[in-house]
Each structure stands twice: as C-alpha cells, then as structure tokens.
C-alpha cells in the first residue's frame, strides 16, 4: 500500500524573504504586521532606528510627521538622512531612505510640525495601529497622550540623550493570545481525563507488561496509572510536596518491579513520569489570571464594539462553566516511548502507534472543543450585530490552544502620570543604584526644554549655569511628588554635559527595543513592556518601572 505523499510545496518569494522571523511569529503574526500602519513623530536617530526595524520585517505602512529641516548635526547621528540632504525636509528624506529598505512597505510623510497637526486635524493620529513619538515636548505630548488614550491607540514615547535612554509605553488595553512562555507546562489532564482518554488509559495495565514493553510506554500512561493507585489509597490527588513525594516513590518502585538485576536504574520514561509529577499534577484547573479574564466586565458585558478576543472569551467562559476546565491544548511534549512495540514491527501499517495514539487523542479533543467554542463565538458575534466573519476558525483554534496563557495588559495614561502628585518616588530613591533617578532627570529635562526652549548644556559656556537651572527644576518636581531626597549634583551635571547630544549607538539600542515592543502590540504576541524602560549605557544596566 502506498499512500499519496504531497509534493514539496512551492515557497513564495515572501515566505523565503521573511523565513527567519516567520519562525517566531508565524504567518498569522506576519499578516497582522503587513496590515498595520504606524506613525512616527519627529525624525530623530531614535525615530528612524525604530522605523528601520519595522520596515525590514515588512510593516504595512508608515507615516512620518516632522516639520524641521535637516541640519549638519542630524547627519552625524541619523543613518537615514544622507550627506547632501542638509536643508531639506527631514520627513521627506527619512521617508525616502527608509523606503529603500523594503519594497513591500508603503511610506509617506507630512512636512508639518506635530503641533500644527494637533491644532488642525486633531484625530489624524487616531488612525494608526501605533503612534511613536520621540523627543516630543510636554505641551504636545500631554494632549496627544490623552487623545490616544481615549481612542485606545497605543502610544510609544522615547528619548535618547547622551548615554541615557528612556522608553514609555502607553496602552489602555491590549490583549495577547500567544505569550510564548520560555517554559511551557504540559497540559496532560490526568486528574480529570475526558471519557475517551480515560478509557484509553484504563486499558493499559503497566504491571501486565513485560520489561521491554514497559520501557516503551509513554510517561503520561505511567503517571496516570500510579496517580490512580495513589487516589485509591489516599482518596484524592497529591497537592503538597510530601504527597507528591509519595507518588514519586510509587512510580520509582513500579519501575524496579520484577527487575532483579538493575534496581537503581530507572527507565527514561519512568524518570519523565516522576519529572511530570511536580508540574502536571495538583495544579488548579483554571489559572487565576485566566479566571479573572473570564470574570472581567469586558467578557461578561459584551457590546457591538467588543473585540473578537472578548467575544471568544465569552464563548470560552460558557465552555468552562459546563466542563469545569479550559479546552485541552492538544499537543504533547516529546516523551521517550516506542512508536509501536518492537515485537510488532511487522504490523507497522495496521497498528496504532503508542504515543501517537495519545497524541492523537489530545489533538482530537482539542479540535472538538475548539469547534464548540467557534460555533458559540460566532453565535455571540451575530447576536451582537457583528459581521459573521469577524471571528475566524483559525483564530479560535489558536485562542483555545493558548487558553491557559491568555493575557490582557492594562496600562496607564502618560498625561495622568505627568499630572499626578501621588507618585512615591522616595521608596525607589532609597536605593542609590536605582535607575529611577534617571526618571526624575528625564522629567526635569523635559520641563527645562519647555521652559527655555533648548536642551541644557547646548553651548559649552552654558553647562555650569544650566546645571543650576536643571537642579532647581528637578528639586521642584521632587517637592511636588513629596519626595525628601535629592538627586546628586554629579548626575545632573552629567546630563547637562550631553548638551542634547544624541549618540547613535544608544539610540540604535533603544530603537531595537521599541521596534520589538511595537511588533508585540501589532501581532498580539509576547508580553509588552509594562510600562517604563530606562537604559544607562555608561554601566550597561537597565530597569523597568510601572508608572
């Protein structure tokens, strides 16, 4: 018998070009990226470095807003403003140089200041997937922040000065289906197997297998078998460490059963079963953060505007209410086992393979549950008056597969942060190494720029007087926050010495970080920064603060 084997598929030019990143965020992540459009306010080196790392992987479109003309200094730090472009529009030249990187990307520019646009076409910025603002003065940043907060458009704000870099992410609500955890806990369901799995597992009696066959049974079968024994004796599943030790010992003893010659030697599959005791047994059926989402008002009070994420959550909620558990993930980690017993090699084509048998059971159940959630989610969407194709089957499958890692990020508004006086910076500043001091400096710097319309230390003979001015401003800020501590003079001197200099390599570092945060927001994969990142290139240290 020869089954037809599919011929090798033709690879599209695009999938070849983007191969190395498709392995990370998949074709579905790429599609979202290609449909996204971002806006950059101000062509700093930081700004173009961010766009560079978005244009290369193929973002749909970008728009640059900048009303300035290119100076000589600009060409000394920005790779996307060429030598002979001094005096031309920054927005225009940067757009041209960035578009050279990738013919798949659309780009345009507006040679106007962000102030002008805010004043004339206020909701212009609401039309983007993400807005990026670099070196934006406070008086525009604050209204922009408020406006985008209302519109639920993510805003990412960055500043690079000397060896110091700052990034702030403003997201009102952002939903993530795939967080891509470093260590994924296998989803085995041995405590509450669904009927087909229970029947399958009950049919295998470990003790009746000979030594060879026993060494080819997948770990989950062993674990189920001894868990059952444990339950018979103790009346429940092990939860505490010592209870789990008892189970582990049961498994260990099981392996030496009928095995005179090599008592200390544990088969690989038994070792794996022991290993799974800790992570796969005695866990709560629904992780608390997922339960919180199912109980969230956004899930229980759907409206016509509800996103597909929340509609799917509502459908999931119903499944959980009836099943008492999340849908099965449907994939198993690799387990030492035989595909089929050696003795039955000749039956290769007829006999269902061990491990593959289990793998398919999990897959089937996952498919079955995803279909149920899909049907329900489509019904809900229809009853809300949403278009029937808002939710795709593929999306629901992904959602169910990752149901245990669903994540919602809720951030804070920059304008509120800037206007708040209830900020407890003192507790951070007690640690002399805390990078929080740079936050105070950055805020002081922004006030300085607003007040004097220049960066401190712009001119050689102004460094010393500007240190005094900046010190005064930062002192006032700290007082507003009710903070008794002071920032050391040398820290303030250092930032004045920079005189607003933008070091390319510092901007490039922050630019890479910011670009990836934007990709996270667009693809709805990976957990984004929450919410302020500070990088000190002098010591190569960084810190994240929730503000």
């Amino acid at each position: 018998m020869s089954s037809p084997v599919p011929k090798s598929p033709e690879q599209s030019e695009k999938s070849k070009k983007y191969d190395r990143q498709l392995r990370l965020w998949g074709d579905h992540g790429q599609k979202l990226l290609e449909n996204a459009k971002v806006c950059l306010i101000n062509v700093t080196a930081l700004g173009t470095e961010i766009l560079k790392s978005l244009v290369l992987p193929g973002i749909g479109a970008f728009t640059i807003v900048d009303g300035e003309k290119i100076t000589e200094q600009d060409t000394g730090s920005n790779f996307f403003l060429d030598n002979d472009s001094v005096g031309l529009s920054r927005a225009q030249v940067a757009t041209r140089c960035l578009l050279e990187l990738n013919p798949d990307v659309h780009g345009d520019y507006i040679d106007e200041s962000p102030e002008h646009i805010m004043a004339h076409t206020q909701d212009f910025f609401n039309n983007f997937s993400v807005v990026i603002a670099t070196s934006l003065p406070e008086k525009i940043l604050l209204p922009l922040s408020k406006q985008l907060w209302e519109a639920n458009v993510p805003l990412i704000v960055g500043r690079s000065i000397g060896f110091l870099a700052y990034l702030r992410l403003q997201i009102r609500e952002h939903t993530v289906i795939e967080v891509h955890p470093d260590n994924e806990i296998p989803d085995l369901r041995l405590e509450n197997p669904w009927p087909a799995l229970r029947e399958h597992l009950n049919n295998i009696d470990i003790l009746k297998l000979d030594k060879k066959d026993r060494s080819h049974v997948p770990a989950l079968v062993i674990l189920y078998y001894y868990l059952d024994k444990f339950k018979n004796v103790y009346g429940g599943v092990p939860v505490t460490r010592s209870q789990k030790d008892v189970l582990r010992n049961l498994i260990k003893e099981g392996n030496s059963f009928n095995d005179e010659d090599d008592e200390n030697h544990l088969e690989e599959n038994f070792q794996e079963a022991i290993h799974y005791v800790n992570t796969c047994i005695g866990q709560s059926r629904i992780p608390s953060q997922v339960q919180a989402l199912l109980d969230d008002e956004r899930c229980t009070n759907l409206t016509q505007e509800s996103s597909s994420f929340w509609v799917m959550c509502a459908a999931l909620r119903e499944l959980v209410q009836s099943d008492g558990a999340l849908p099965v993930r449907g994939s198993l980690p690799d387990m030492a086992a035989d595909t089929i017993n050696y003795v039955a090699l000749q039956q290769l084509y007829q006999k269902q393979a061990q491990f593959q048998a289990e793998a398919q059971l999990y897959q089937k159940q996952a498919q079955f549950q995803a279909e149920a959630v899909y049907r329900r989610a489509s019904q809900i969407a229809r009853s809300l008056g949403q278009s029937p194709d808002t939710i795709t089957e593929h999306e629901v499958k992904l959602f169910c597969k990752h149901a245990s890692e669903l994540y919602v990020a809720r951030g804070s508004c920059i304008a509120e942060e800037y206007q708040s006086t209830a900020f407890d910076i003192s507790s951070y500043l007690e640690d002399p190494d805390s990078l929080m001091l740079y936050y105070a400096i950055i805020r002081g710097l922004e006030r300085f720029i607003s007040e004097f319309n220049t960066t401190p230390g712009q001119f050689d003979d102004q460094v010393e007087p500007d240190v005094l001015k900046l010190k005064g401003i930062i002192g006032k800020l700290l007082a507003e926050w009710g903070c008794g501590q002071a920032i050391r003079d040398e820290r303030i001197h250092e930032v004045c010495r920079y005189g607003g200099a933008e070091l390319h390599s510092v901007s490039a570092m922050l630019g890479g970080c910011a670009a990836h945060e934007i990709i996270k927001l667009i693809t709805h994969q990976y957990k984004p920064l929450d919410n302020t990142f500070i990088y000190d290139a002098i010591t190569t240290n960084s810190a994240t603060f929730v503000l």
Binding site: Q363, V506, A537
Partner: protein, 443 residues
C-alpha cells in the same frame, strides 16, 4: 585638516560634546580633548568580523560613532532570507559578497568613512593581519569561528617573565543573537574571561539519538533527521552531498520525511520545519540584532576613547516578556585551555584500558573542550609522534589503528604532554596526562 578639526563642520557635534567636555562618570584617565575624535577618525583601526545581521548594524553604528578606518571580513554571499534584517543589502545584491556590498553602502552613505571589505574566511589571514587593529568586533553565528579568533588574539599576547605586556592586548567585543535573545561581551585577552573560559554558556546542538530516529520516531524532527542522516547517504538521489540551499534537495527530504511521518502517524511536518532541521536555522529578527550590535558599538566607543569604563564584562538581553537585561562579570577560568598559559591536565583513571579514541571522544563531547576534529601529536623519547590526525587522508590511514590502542600501549606516560590541533583554535594546545594509578607497567 581632519574632519573633526574643522570648526565649520558641525556634523560631529554630538560626539564632540561627549569627547570634549569633562564628566563625573568618565574613565579616571579620560582627558577631554578634540584629539580623541581625531584619533577615532584617523588613527583607530577597527575590524568587524561578519557582515550579516549583526555586522550590517555594527558597520552603521561604528561609522556614526565616528570611526572611519574600518575593515570588515565575511566569506558569505547575500541570500534572499538575509533581507529581513541585513539592511545594507537589496534584492539586486543577492549572490554578491556581503563584505563588499556592505562596505560600499556605508562608504557611500557616510562621507569620509573608509570601510575595507575582505571577502574571505578569517582563517585565510595570519597574525600580521590581525595585529594591525586596535579593537576587533565580532558579529558571528559560529562558535568555532569565535573560538578561532579568540585563540588568534591570545596568540598575539606578549609575556615577559610571565608578566603580560598590556600593549599586546587587542580587545574583542563580541555579540550574539538568537530570536529575541542576545548577548554582548567585552573580552580583554589574557586579562578577562575569554570565549573558551565560558564555553559552557553555549548550549550543545540538539541531536537525536540514532535509535530514536531509526526505530521509534515520535516527532516530525525525528523523521527529517532519519531521511537526512540515513536515507540520503543510502539512496543519494543526485550522487552528491546534501546541500541545504538547493531547493531540489530540500524538496526530496521533505517528500521522504512526509512519507515516513505518514507511516508512523506523525503530524506537524512542514516544509519550513524541514528547512530548519536540515540547515540548523536559527530564527532572527532585525530588532534583536539592532540592540546587540548597538551595545557592542557603544563598548567599542568606550574602549577607543576611554570616555567611560567599559562593560565588565557580559550582558544578556531578552525581550520576549517585557525588556530584560542583566550585566555581570563572567569569570576567567584558571585552567582555560585557550588563555590560562598552563597546560590543561587530564586525569586518567586506567591508562592501560583508556584508549586514544576515548581521549578524542572526551575532547569532542565534553562541554569544556567542544572540539571538532582534533589532531593529536606527542613527543616520545625526544621524537615527535603523530598519534592521530583526521584532516590529512594519508596520515589518517596510517594513524587510524592507534585509535583502539590504550594510552600505555602508545607509549604515553604519567605527565606526558599531548599537543592538540583543532579547527577551534589557530594554535596548538597542550594537554598533560595525569595517571591516577601509581604503578603502571610500561611495556
């Protein structure tokens, strides 16, 4: 008059503020002056190894940090799958030398910058080439190449009466990325932890046991490995070695693997996975390369200008969940094979039973050696003796029988020294055998 001296040229004002003004966090020996910018623009020679994902970024970053005398070396040509991150290359450049295209682009974009390309392997050059540089920056994806350049720079060190002559030290700044993770480090050969000191940081490549892929495949990867290592050599459809870049070859592997997966009821086999397994593809994105290269370039700038104390000495980066960095001091290994100046002692329990092939296996498998094809020689009674060498066919034939001889049978004694040559280093390493039994009968 140099670019940096011209008062009308404001282009480098950003750098001048950093280099011409004193600051409280500068290196203690830092003396602000216009001469520093002049030095990095005219005197300071930098070598960038690799013109790929990190290399392209490094060239841009260094050129905009004021460096003008830059050399770049890369043996590879540009491929379509490079274009999602190697931003100095365009579609029309596919098939051209990475080093040459990258150098030409930088020189065109940044007036006055003189990047010199070398379209060859790092092994094609000797000490006299590497000695000319002030700092060497690596953007490599190969551990072997990293170890080789590390060994090269260690071989350039001068010791006088056991004391290191500091002027012979050429710093290495090394970066590496994989997906959303990366690392950057500063190595002062002979003074701080070198690549070989921290070999255990590199995870061994994933390999699947032969018995699994042959008898008990469970994952699609097992099916692909089977076709690659067993079926291809046996059937050899085109009578040539498997070439991961040939779509016809990958297509063949795909179809055969699919056949095998169907036989065993294994799901999840895709063309992309076949490519990944056959070519050992490491996922890569523009953003991580940008971050790591930028950190490396900042360190080069610190080392060249003394404006700040360089990083001490290893930074890890990960932006899967938020943005995480951690900087720590990797420790120099007292008995490092590459940089410690002491012969590495290998304890041997039973030299009468321990065979030469056991020693070779140890050198290849152990986390602290990770050698590729070591060639072993020794001196017995004042005469040079080749114990085994696989790289030259006629010698391999002659020395093959030594593999199954014990160390004692080969005439090696307690404290005998074995000289090892390997791809991972340009110089010969010395191993000292330490027999743990006192009364070995010598024949």
């Amino acid at each position: 008059m140099g670019d940096s001296q011209d008062p009308l040229n404001k282009r480098w004002d950003h750098l001048r503020k950093i280099l011409e003004r004193p600051g409280p966090f500068c290196h203690p020996e830092f003396e602000p002056s216009p001469e520093i910018l002049d030095f990095i623009m005219t005197g300071c020679k930098i070598l960038v190894i690799g013109a790929g994902g990190l290399g392209c970024e490094l060239l841009k970053d260094l050129a905009l940090m004021g460096f003008k005398q830059i050399h770049v070396i890369d043996m590879d040509i540009i491929e379509l799958s490079n274009l999602n991150r190697q931003f100095l290359f365009r579609h029309k450049d596919i098939g051209s030398s990475k080093a040459e295209v990258a150098a030409a682009f930088i020189n065109k974009r940044i007036a006055g910058c003189q990047v010199t390309p070398h379209f060859c392997k790092i092994q094609d050059y000797d000490e006299s080439f590497y000695r000319q540089f002030h700092i060497i920056v690596c953007g490599l994806d190969s551990i072997v190449a990293r170890r080789w350049i590390n060994g090269m720079l260690i071989s350039l060190l001068n010791y006088e009466d056991g004391v290191l002559d500091q002027s012979s030290v050429i710093p290495i700044v090394d970066g590496g990325t994989e997906g959303f993770k990366g690392n950057a480090r500063v190595i002062l050969p002979g003074l701080s932890a070198c690549i070989d000191c921290t070999l255990d940081l590199y995870p061994p490549q994933i390999t699947y046991p032969l018995c699994t892929i042959a008898n008990t495949p469970r994952l699609p990867e097992h099916c692909i490995e089977y076709v690659k290592v067993i079926q291809w050599p046996k059937e050899n459809p085109w009578g040539i070695q498997l070439d991961g870049d040939d779509p016809q070859h990958i297509g063949w592997i795909y179809e055969k693997s699919m056949e095998r997966a169907l036989q065993f009821n294994i799901t999840g086999l895709t063309y992309r996975l076949v490519q990944g397994v056959v070519k050992h593809i490491i996922p890569a994105v523009a953003s991580t390369n940008a971050v790591i290269a930028a950190v490396c370039a900042t360190e080069v700038f610190k080392l060249a200008t003394s404006c700040c104390i360089p990083m001490n000495n290893y930074m890890v980066f990960n932006d899967v969940d938020g943005i995480y960095t951690y900087t720590y001091e990797a420790e120099k290994k007292d008995n490092c094979l590459a940089c410690s100046q002491v012969p590495y002692t290998i304890p041997i329990k039973d030299p009468a039973k321990y065979k030469l092939k056991d020693l070779i296996e140890l050198l290849c498998e152990s986390a602290s050696f990770q050698m590729k094809n070591p060639g072993l020689t020794t001196v017995i009674d004042g005469k040079n003796k080749t114990l085994y060498m696989s790289t030259i066919k006629s010698i391999e034939e002659k020395t093959k029988e030594n593999l199954s001889k014990s160390l004692v049978d080969l005439g090696l004694r307690d404290n005998s020294e074995v000289m090892v040559a390997d791809l991972t280093s340009p110089s010969t390493m010395v191993l000292k055998l330490k027999y743990l039994v006192s009364d070995v009968e010598m024949e």
